[in-house]
Symmetry: C2
Subunit: 167 residues, 2 copies
Amino acid sequence: MEFKEAKNKFVQTWGALGSQWGINKTMAQIHALLMVSNEAVSMEDIMEELQISRGNASMNLRALMDWGIVYKEYKAGERREFFTAEKDLDELAVKISRERSKREIKPALKVLKEVSSIEANSTEEEKHFVDQTTKLYDFVLKADNVLDKITEYKDNWLTQLLIKFMK
Amino acid sequence: MEFKEAKNKFVQTWGALGSQWGINKTMAQIHALLMVSNEAVSMEDIMEELQISRGNASMNLRALMDWGIVYKEYKAGERREFFTAEKDLDELAVKISRERSKREIKPALKVLKEVSSIEANSTEEEKHFVDQTTKLYDFVLKADNVLDKITEYKDNWLTQLLIKFMK
DNA sequence: ATAAACTTTCATTTTTTTTTGAAAGTTTAA
DNA sequence: TTAAACTTTCAAAAAAAAATGAAAGTTTAT
């Protein structure tokens, strides 16, 4: 396999993976492309390489920047903006974790707390509902806290985790 | 908030959360519904409660069973099939982890290995590509192994993890 | 102040994903 | 064996999500 083919395969695979994780294909592809580029890439080049429109490129770059995993870069004497991806994988994982926690887990916890707090007087059915949603709340809360603790380490959290678990 | 409202809110929220994680809305809703039901539910009742067609119910129940998180149940003297969800949350998390590892992480690793193995002779660009995809391969492999180790504990893995990390 | 060189926005179109429902298939009781 | 009571399948329809592209907006150099 030669370079161009490998690069393309990587970008396509990353894009497909994105879809399975609730991230849109183009967004994941742009991220993949930037990850393996050794220098910052212009919007023009991204459009060209992925064969996408200007609007699409712009919107997905904005989304990636909102996630804090892609940065704008300015080159001296250049009007155009260039983009780079966070390349440190520990940092990348931490940012994604934090963002998903904030956007998805925290709101879900709020709802779980609400619905598990109803007055479950009468039926078995209601008791089971309260019991199950309470357990779910506790579980998700604990998982979210573990994630928080783990990502606090920031550098090499994965290695540290592995070490802890090997003991 | 009264029971019916709470139940509905829970099912809707779980469904929305599903979408963000690459699981289709109905599948997540059926799972939510079964999770909080104290007894097995017939397909008819699922269709009624979620206002979905027979085909839709059938296909998503099949998918949930393929994931191993919903079971068929037969009641004596009943022709119809009834369904229950895995209610133990540790077990549920373990099954989801294993399944996603098998379906998504393992194939991604295969591609990463392939593309990081190209002959990177000439340019800086190629060297960076190989370097970055190699790092990614190592990272994902390590993460997958940690997930494996953790879920081996099965019961209370989350608590154990929390304890380890609090030390 | 202005125009060139860019980027962003958003109504519309396209693509993808999900849902429907009727026909085909299966199982069970008599 | 057969017919009633179910479930599954899958082509077609509907809905949802993503992409387009042209107009509007912004920035910078002069």
